[in-house]
C-alpha cells in the first residue's frame, strides 16, 4: 500500500496523478477462505481489517452484493458518540470512540472524524431527569459528560431558538462526540484490509449457506460457492433474510430511516444537536450542508426510500429549533433500511449454526460503532468465543430477558 500524505500528493501531482494505485484490488473469489465476511458495509470491512491486522487471519474475503458502503454505511448521518446510559452500551461505544480517535492515522485514510461536540437537548422535566441520569451514568463510566445550562447552549449554538414551544431547559454535552465522513470509513477500511491481503469482492450476492450437521461449510454466491469454516454475517437490514437462509430467525424488524441535507451554506452550526422532544437532529457537514434526520418510518419495509409524512414531521421541528432554516432548501432526501431489535441494542452473537456469527441490529445508530464492532467481532470470530465487550449482545438475551434496553430509559411515560 503506497502511503497517502501531503508529500505523496505533491509527488503524484508531478506525474499528473497517473501513478496512484488502486485503493483496493478487485479479485475473483477463491474457492476457499479461512473466514468469509458477508456484507461490505463499514462493520463488515472493519471486521475483515481487524481479523487481518490483529488476529493474524489474512485469508479473508468480504462479499458484497453491490458496491462497498452502499448500505447504511453510505446513507447515514454520521453521528458518533458514546454517551449511552447502560454499562454494556457504554462499553462497546466508548471502545469504538477510542478507536475513532486514531483511525485516520491507523488506516492512513482521512476519515474526517471531527470531535466537535454533541448536545442532547432537554425540553421538559422528564428530559432533565433523563439527561440527569444518563449524564451521571456516563461520567461514572469514565466517559466525558457535561451538563449545560440554556445560556451555555445558546452560547455554543447562537442560531438555536431556546425559547420556543418547548424551551431548552438544559443539555447534555459530549465534547468527544461528533461526526465522520461515512464513505471514507468504508473506503479506508477496504484499502487497509486489502493491503493486508483481504479479498474484497463486490457485485457478488450471497444466496445461501452450505451447512452440514449444524456446522457451516461455506456460502453460495452469485459468483460460485466459496468454502469457509467461519462465516460472519454483517448485512444490517438484510440480516433477517440471511438468517432465514441459515434456517433460523433473527429477532429484527427492518424499517426505513430517512435523512436529508440542505444546500451547502457557510458554517453556521458547529455542533451536533439532538432533540427528542422537538424530534429532530442536525449537524453541518464540512461541505456546508445541514444534515437532518429524525425517527424511522412507521412501516416495515425493504425499500430504501421513505414516505413524505416523516419528512414533513422533521420540517416543523427543524424550523422551530432553528428558525433561520425556514428559507434554506432541502437538496436531497434518502432512506436506508435499519435493522431494529426490541431493545434497540445490536446483536453480536454466535448462532445455532456452528461457525456462523452474526453482527447486526445496529438499527439507527451503528455507524458510530463501526470500528468498535468490527474490532470485537473480529476477535470473537478469531477466538471462537465472544469478546467480553461483545458478550452481553448475544441473541440469548431475547430468551433470558437480559435486554440492554437503551430505548426504554428515554421513551417512557411521564
Amino acid at each position: 500500500m503506497s502511503k497517502y500524505s501531503i508529500f505523496s500528493l505533491i509527488r503524484n501531482a508531478g506525474s499528473y496523478h497517473e501513478n496512484w494505485q488502486r485503493a483496493w484490488r478487485s479479485p475473483d473469489p477463491q474457492p476457499e477462505y479461512e473466514v468469509v465476511i458477508i456484507g461490505g458495509g463499514g462493520h463488515g470491512l472493519a471486521t475483515a481489517y481487524y481479523l487481518a491486522k490483529e488476529c493474524g487471519i489474512r485469508r479473508v474475503a468480504v462479499i458484497e452484493k453491490g458496491w462497498l458502503g452502499g448500505g447504511n454505511t453510505g446513507r447515514n448521518t454520521t453521528i458518533v458518540r458514546s454517551n449511552y446510559l447502560l454499562d454494556e452500551s457504554a462499553g462497546i461505544y466508548e471502545h469504538s470512540v477510542k478507536l475513532w480517535e486514531g483511525l485516520s492515522q491507523e488506516l492512513n485514510f482521512n476519515v474526517m472524524f471531527s470531535q466537535r461536540g454533541l448536545l442532547h437537548l432537554a425540553h421538559n422535566v422528564h428530559d432533565m431527569q433523563e439527561i440527569g441520569r444518563r449524564g451521571n451514568a456516563i461520567w461514572l463510566n469514565g466517559i466525558d459528560s457535561e451538563f449545560l445550562t440554556p445560556e451555555q447552549v445558546k452560547e455554543m449554538v447562537p442560531l438555536m431558538n431556546i425559547n420556543g414551544r418547548y424551551p431548552v431547559l438544559g443539555a447534555l454535552l459530549q465534547r468527544r462526540g461528533g461526526t465522520a465522513r461515512h464513505d471514507a470509513v468504508a473506503w479506508g477500511y477496504a484499502r487497509a484490509a486489502d493491503a493486508l491481503g483481504v479479498d474484497i469482492i463486490q457485485n457478488c450476492e450471497v444466496t445461501g449457506f452450505d451447512i452440514k450437521n449444524g456446522v457451516v461449510q461455506g456460502v453460495r454466491t452469485t459468483r460460485g460457492d466459496i468454502k469457509a469454516k467461519r462465516v460472519g454475517v454483517v448485512t444490517a437490514g438484510h440480516s433477517t433474510v440471511m438468517a432465514d437462509m441459515a434456517g433460523f430467525r433473527m429477532p429484527l424488524e427492518s424499517l426505513p430511516l430517512q435523512a436529508m441535507v440542505s444546500e451547502p451554506i457557510k458554517p453556521c452550526i458547529d455542533t451536533v444537536i439532538m432533540s427528542n422532544a422537538v424530534h429532530v437532529y442536525v449537524s453541518q457537514s464540512d461541505k456546508g450542508e445541514l444534515v437532518v434526520g429524525a425517527g424511522t418510518d412507521a412501516y416495515i419495509s425493504y425499500a430504501q426510500r421513505g414516505g413524505f409524512d416523516m419528512m414533513e414531521h422533521i420540517m416543523g421541528p427543524l424550523v422551530e429549533l432553528f428558525p433561520f432554516t425556514s428559507r434554506l432548501r432541502m437538496l436531497r432526501q434518502w432512506g436506508g433500511i435499519v435493522d431494529v431489535t426490541v431493545d434497540r441494542s445490536p446483536i453480536l452473537s454466535k448462532t445455532p449454526v456452528e461457525g456462523l456469527y452474526f453482527n447486526c441490529g445496529w438499527g439507527t445508530g451503528g455507524f458510530k460503532c463501526t470500528p468498535g464492532s468490527g474490532h470485537v467481532f473480529a476477535h470473537s470470530i478469531a477466538n471462537g468465543e465472544m469478546h467480553p465487550i461483545a458478550a452481553p449482545f448475544s441473541i440469548d438475551r431475547f430468551n433470558t430477558g437480559a435486554l440492554i434496553d437503551e430505548a426504554a430509559a428515554a421513551a417512557v411515560a411521564h
Binding site: 505533491i10 486514531g102 472524524f113 439527561i131 473506503w187 425556514s326 428559507r327 426504554a408
Partner: protein, 1004 residues
C-alpha cells in the same frame, strides 16, 4: 451602457415595464418578464459567481433550473436566500443580488488560490492528507469548513408565511410545454379533474423559444389559445411557477408553488410566500421535456460558455443577444437553429460541428445564412479567464481522440454548446420507474414503472414537435380514460412542418492540445463542484468504478443542481475508461427533490404558534390568571405550581404541600388519559392487559392496575372503574394516553379480533378536579348536598354519579396523594364552572390549588410510583415490590410469560427502594448514582440511581426513591452518592413510604 446586449425588439419581456435591480452593489435596468440571468446578460454581465472548490470565475450556463454556475445570494437581512439560480429568479423592482463564495469580490477572489493549486487538489485529495499531526485535524477542518459552503444562510427568523395545500385529482400533468399542454387539452376536455403544473412563470416550455409553426400559427399563439381554453375549463387547475419536487408511492406527489417570490418581499405576509402542494393523482402524465447536455471540452467552464438551447432562449424569449461574436459548438442539428437565430439577431457566428459531414436541411439553411461551418472539428480551448476573448478550434481525428490538424483561433465572446439532449427522467425514476438506454439518442429514456404514470414528449425521448403534441394528446386522453372518463379522446392531430432530427456524433471528452489532465486546461463535467474529466480517470484508476463510488469520490452530481447537466457525461466517460456500455456502468438513483425545496414551505403552517399547538385543560385560563407556572407534559401545558408574590418554586411547593395535607388542596387532573371501554368482552380485555384480576369488579368500584409490555416490563398504570355492565372507564398516565390506546387497539385488531369490545379516547371529554386533604369531604358536602359521602356508602375506591355544583358529575374516591381524595369528573365544557365552585366552597376551609410539583412530592411521600420516572421500561412489578398486583391465578395476561424468563426472574435485579440522605436538608439530584465505593475519579461501579427526589415538608426532610441492585435486601445499608460537583452524599436505603405508613388517611 444600459442593456447593451438587449435586442431592439422581440422577446416576451414587457418593455413598457422597466425594472431596476442591483447586482454586487451596482445598479442595472431590466424589464418585467426577465429572469435575473437574462437581465444580467442584457447588461453585459457575464461573470456571476465562483465555483465551489477552485473558485473559478463562472457565468451563466443555462436558462433554467438545471443551472450549475450562476448561483447568487438574493436579498439581505432576514429575507436573504443563498444559492438562488439567477436563471430562475424573476426580476422585480428593487431586487438585489450578490455573488457568493468569493472574497473580497467576484472579480478578485482570494479563494482562487485554490485554482492555482489545483494540481495538488484532485478529486478526493482530502482523503489523502490533513492526517498529520493528528491533533491538527480540527484546525485543518476549520479552514476547510470556512472555504466550503456556498452562500450564507440568514441569521434571523423568516418574516414570511407558508401554506400547505392538500388536493386530489384525476390527472396530474407535470410540465406545460407542447406535450403537457396537449395532454391537458385531452384530459381537460374529457371532464377529468386535471392539474397542469409548470416550474416556469408561463406555460409553453420550449415553444417560448422555438419558432416552428403549429397549425399555421406562431407557437406562442398556439400556447396562448391553448392556455385560454384550459383556463376556461372549471375542471382544470393551472399552476405555473410550481415545481413538482417529489414522486412517492401510490401516485402521491408534492409540489412547491412560488406565490410571491416573483413580486419580491411583501408587506402583507398574509399571502404565503410559497405554497406546498400535496397531490394524490389517479393518473400522472410526466411531460417535463429534456435538458441539454454540455460538451466536455477544454476550458468549457469559462464565463460565456453556455448551452445552445439556452442562448436561443435568451435571444428569442428575452430579446437578449449576450455576445456579438459567437461560436456554436455542437454534435447535432438542434444547435443550428441557435446559430441561425443568433445570426439573424446580428451576431457573427461560427459553427463548429463534431460531425464530419452534417447534411440536413437545417445545415443548408445555416450555410445560406452565411454562417461558417467547421465540420469534423472541435473547440479545443478558450482564450480568456473571466471572459472569453477567442476560441481555439481544431479538426478532430476520425476516432475523436486526437487533433487532426493545427489549431486556429476565432474571435468570439460567447460559446454555445450542445451534445444532445437528456430526457428529464428524474420524476419517472423517483416513481420507481426503470430506465432504458437508447443508443440512438445516447441517453436514458423511461422504460416501465409500477405506478399509474405515463411519460410523453421529450422526457420520453421524443424530440419532434409533432411527436410531442401527438404523444401528449394520447397520454392525456389515456390517463383520463383510465381515471374513469370513458369519453376521453386524443383530439385532432396538429399540423407541424419540421425536419426529422439528424444523426449525432458523440465525443464524450473532446481532446485538446495536451493530453487530458496534463496541462492547465480543464475539462469540466460538474461545473458547480469542479469535477473534471481527469477526475473521473483518477477515480477509475483508484478503483472507484461503480457509479456511486464515482459520484461520492469525485462529488460529481452532488451539487445543488444534483448533476442535471453532468450525470450522463460522467457515466459516459467512465464507460469509455472501462470499455463498458453506459448501462453496464449503471445509472444513478434520482433522489427527491427535483430542485431544492424551501424548508419553510414543507413545514407549511405548522410553525411558531402552530408548531405542536399546546393542549390546555378547560381550567387553563384560571391557572394563567392565578399566576401558575406551567410545565410541558407531552403536548399538554400543566400548572406546575402557583407562586405567591415573592415565592420561588421551592417555597411555593412547600406551602402547597403542607396546606394540602393540613386542610384541602385542589388540582387540575384533566390531562390524565381516559379511555371508555365497552362491550361484552370488556372485562376479558382488562384481564389480558392488566396484571391483576378484573372479573369481580362491581359497577361503581375502581381498581388500580399495572400494564406490562411483552417483556414483562411495566409500561403504564392507572385506575380503571366499572361504570356499569360491560362498561369501564380506564385512566392512564398523561403522557401514555395515546400509547395505551394504540396498545389496546393493536392487540384487539391483530391478536384478538374475536373480542367484542370498543375503546374510545375520552381524555378531552372530561374535565377533572381533584380535591385532596382532611377537609375534602367538607368541601364536597358543600357542593354536592345530594350525594351520599359517608365512608360506608361511598368508600375508598368507589365511584358515584350525581350532581356536583349543579353539574352532572362522576366522582371517584381514589387518591394519588394518600389523603382523602375525590376526583370529580364533569363534561369538559363545565370544567371551569366546577373549578370555580370548588374554590368558592373550599375558601372557608383554606383550600389551596396545587400543581404537578406538589403532586409529585405528595405521592413520593407515600411511595407511589410515577411510571416513566421511577420505572423505565426495564422494571417488572416485582422490581417495584408490587408482587401483590400480579395475579397468580390468571391463565394469561400480557407480559406473564416473560416474567418467568431467567433474567427477568433473577434475584438481585434493580429494585425500587427509598433513600434517606445523611444530611436531611440535602436534596439529591435526580439521576445521581449510588456506587459501591467512591474512587478519586471515575470509572466507579454503580449499583443504582435516584429516580425521584424532593424536600418533603410533611416528613420535614429530604426524601428520595431509587432503583438499586438487590435493593429490597439492602434496607438499612448505607451507600455513597458521588456528584460531578465533587460532593459525596451518604444515603441509607429504606422502604418507600415516608408519611402515614399505615395508610389511614386515604380511607378516612
Amino acid at each position: 451602457m444600459a442593456q447593451k446586449n438587449r435586442l431592439p425588439d422581440g422577446g416576451r419581456i414587457d418593455r413598457t415595464k422597466p425594472v431596476r435591480f442591483q447586482f454586487n452593489g451596482k445598479r442595472y435596468d431590466g424589464f418585467s418578464g426577465d429572469t435575473l440571468a437574462a437581465a444580467l446578460l442584457a447588461n453585459g454581465v457575464s461573470l456571476v459567481g465562483r465555483s465551489f472548490k477552485y473558485h473559478r470565475p463562472r457565468g451563466i450556463m443555462t436558462a433554467g433550473s438545471e443551472e450549475p454556475n450562476a448561483l447568487v445570494q438574493l436579498g439581505t437581512g432576514a429575507r436573504t436566500e443563498p444559492n438562488i439560480r439567477a436563471t430562475q429568479a424573476e426580476l422585480f423592482d428593487g431586487l438585489s443580488a450578490d455573488s457568493q463564495n468569493c472574497w473580497p469580490s467576484v472579480g478578485f477572489d482570494i479563494g482562487a488560490i485554490n485554482s492555482v493549486m489545483s494540481k495538488y487538489l484532485p478529486a478526493g485529495f482530502y482523503y489523502k492528507t490533513f492526517m498529520w499531526p493528528a491533533s491538527l485535524w480540527m484546525t485543518y477542518e476549520h479552514v476547510i469548513r470556512n472555504a466550503a459552503g456556498l452562500g450564507k444562510g440568514p441569521t434571523e427568523s423568516d418574516p414570511d408565511r407558508y401554506a400547505q395545500h392538500h388536493t386530489a385529482c384525476d390527472v396530474l400533468i407535470v410540465g406545460g410545454g407542447p406535450s403537457g399542454l396537449a395532454a391537458a387539452l385531452a384530459a381537460g376536455r374529457s371532464g377529468a379533474r386535471t392539474i397542469l403544473v409548470d416550474e416556469q412563470s408561463e406555460f409553453g416550455g420550449w415553444l417560448l423559444t422555438d419558432d416552428t409553426e403549429i397549425d399555421g400559427m406562431a407557437p406562442t399563439d398556439w400556447v396562448a389559445n391553448t392556455v385560454k381554453e384550459l383556463a376556461g375549463l372549471d375542471n382544470v387547475t393551472l399552476l405555473p411557477r410550481t415545481t413538482v419536487s417529489a414522486y412517492f408511492d401510490h401516485n402521491f406527489l408534492t409540489a412547491a408553488q412560488r406565490v410571491t417570490d416573483h413580486l419580491g418581499p411583501q408587506e402583507n405576509t398574509k399571502t404565503p410566500r410559497q405554497r406546498f402542494w400535496k397531490i394524490r393523482a389517479k393518473q400522472v402524465v410526466l411531460a417535463q421535456g429534456s435538458l441539454e447536455r454540455p460538451i466536455v471540452f477544454a476550458d468549457n467552464d469559462r464565463p460565456g460558455v453556455m448551452l445552445a438551447g439556452a442562448l436561443r432562449t435568451y435571444i428569442n424569449r428575452y430579446g437578449v443577444l449576450p455576445g456579438r461574436e459567437i461560436v456554436v459548438f455542437t454534435n447535432n442539428d438542434s444547435a443550428y437553429r441557435t446559430a441561425i437565430d443568433a445570426k439573424n439577431a446580428g451576431a457573427v457566428v461560427h459553427l463548429v460541428d463534431l460531425r464530419p459531414d452534417p447534411d440536413n436541411p437545417v445545415v443548408h439553411q445555416a450555410r445560406q445564412a452565411g454562417i461558417q461551418i467547421h465540420e469534423g472539428s472541435a473547440v479545443v480551448g478558450i482564450k480568456g479567464a473571466k471572459s472569453i476573448h477567442g476560441v481555439e478550434i481544431a479538426p478532430l481525428s476520425e476516432d475523436g481522440k486526437s487533433l487532426a490538424g493545427p489549431t486556429f483561433v476565432v474571435s468570439a465572446s460567447l460559446v454555445a454548446m450542445s451534445s444532445g439532449w437528456n430526457p428529464s427522467v428524474h420524476l419517472f425514476s423517483q416513481s420507481r420507474g426503470k430506465l432504458r438506454f437508447d443508443d440512438a439518442l445516447t441517453t436514458f429514456v423511461p422504460d416501465h414503472t409500477p405506478q399509474k404514470t405515463r411519460s410523453a414528449g421529450a422526457c420520453n425521448g421524443t424530440f419532434t414537435l409533432a411527436g410531442c403534441l401527438a404523444e401528449g394528446m394520447e397520454a392525456g386522453a389515456a390517463a383520463a380514460k383510465d381515471a374513469g372518463f370513458d369519453s376521453a379522446i386524443a383530439g385532432p392531430s396538429h399540423v407541424v412542418k419540421e425536419d426529422a432530427p439528424g444523426s449525432m456524433r458523440q465525443v464524450w471528452t473532446v481532446p485538446t492540445v495536451h493530453p487530458l489532465g496534463k496541462g492547465t486546461r480543464k475539462h469540466f463535467l460538474d461545473h458547480q463542484n469542479d469535477v473534471t474529466a481527469a477526475d473521473v480517470h483518477l477515480a477509475a484508476r483508484e478503483g472507484y468504478l461503480s457509479v456511486e463510488h464515482l459520484k461520492r469520490y469525485t462529488t460529481t452530481g452532488m451539487g445543488t443542481d444534483q448533476g442535471k447537466t453532468s450525470n450522463v457525461n460522467a457515466l459516459a466517460i467512465m464507460s469509455e475508461i472501462r470499455s463498458a456500455s453506459i448501462p453496464e456502468v449503471g445509472t444513478t438513483t434520482f433522489r427527491p427533490p427535483y430542485t431544492p425545496t424551501t424548508y419553510g414551505a414543507m413545514a407549511g403552517q405548522g410553525v411558531q404558534e402552530l408548531f405542536e399547538q399546546y393542549r390546555g385543560t378547560a381550567m387553563h385560563d384560571w391557572h394563567v390568571n392565578n399566576g401558575a407556572v406551567f410545565e410541558d407534559v407531552g403536548d399538554w401545558k400543566r400548572a406546575r405550581y402557583y407562586p405567591k408574590p415573592g415565592e420561588d418554586m421551592d417555597e411555593a411547593v412547600r406551602r402547597e404541600c403542607k396546606q394540602a395535607r393540613e386542610t384541602v388542596g385542589i388540582m387540575d387532573a384533566s390531562t390524565l388519559g381516559k379511555i371508555d371501554i365497552q362491550g361484552p368482552d370488556a372485562a376479558k380485555l382488562l384481564n389480558m392487559v392488566y396484571t391483576n384480576a378484573w372479573s369481580a369488579l362491581k359497577p361503581g368500584r375502581a381498581r388500580y392496575g399495572l400494564m406490562l409490555n411483552e417483556h414483562g416490563m411495566v409500561f403504564d398504570d392507572g385506575v380503571t372503574t366499572c361504570i356499569g355492565e360491560n362498561h369501564y372507564h380506564m385512566t392512564t398516565t398523561t403522557g401514555g394516553a395515546a400509547r395505551v390506546l394504540n396498545w389496546l387497539e393493536e392487540w384487539l385488531q391483530t391478536e384478538w379480533p374475536d373480542m367484542e369490545v370498543y375503546c374510545t379516547s375520552v381524555t378531552e371529554e372530561w374535565a377533572v378536579a381533584t380535591l385532596s386533604g382532611p377537609k375534602a369531604r367538607e368541601v364536597m358536602e358543600a357542593v354536592a348536598p345530594k350525594m351520599a359521602l359517608d365512608p360506608q356508602t361511598f368508600p375508598f375506591m368507589a365511584m358515584q354519579e350525581g350532581e356536583v355544583a349543579g353539574l352532572p358529575a362522576r366522582v371517584f374516591r381514589i387518591s394519588f396523594t394518600g389523603d382523602l381524595s375525590y376526583e370529580i369528573n364533569v363534561p369538559a365544557r363545565y370544567g371551569m364552572a366546577l373549578w370555580e365552585a370548588l374554590m368558592e366552597a373550599g375558601r372557608p376551609h383554606g383550600i389551596v390549588p396545587y400543581g404537578t410539583e406538589t403532586m409529585h412530592v405528595l405521592r413520593a411521600e407515600k411511595g407511589f410510583i410515577i411510571v416513566g420516572q421511577d420505572s423505565d421500561g426495564t422494571v417488572t412489578p416485582y422490581d417495584l415490590d408490587m408482587d401483590w398486583i400480579v395475579s397468580k391465578k390468571k391463565d394469561d395476561f400480557l407480559g406473564k410469560r416473560s416474567l418467568t424468563r431467567t433474567d427477568t426472574a433473577r434475584p438481585g435485579r434493580k429494585q425500587l427502594v427509598g433513600l434517606l440522605t445523611e444530611d436531611p436538608n440535602f436534596v439529591l439530584p435526580e439521576g445521581a448514582h449510588l456506587v459501591k465505593e467512591v474512587k478519586p475519579k471515575p470509572p466507579m461501579d454503580t449499583i443504582g440511581h435516584v429516580t425521584s427526589s424532593y424536600f418533603s415538608p410533611n416528613a420535614g426532610r429530604s426524601i428520595a426513591l431509587a432503583l438499586v441492585k438487590d435493593g429490597l435486601n439492602l434496607k438499612g445499608s448505607s451507600f455513597q452518592v458521588p456528584l460531578m460537583s465533587g460532593h459525596v452524599e451518604t444515603v441509607t436505603i429504606t422502604d418507600t413510604i415516608f408519611f402515614d405508613k399505615e395508610g389511614e388517611r386515604a380511607r378516612g
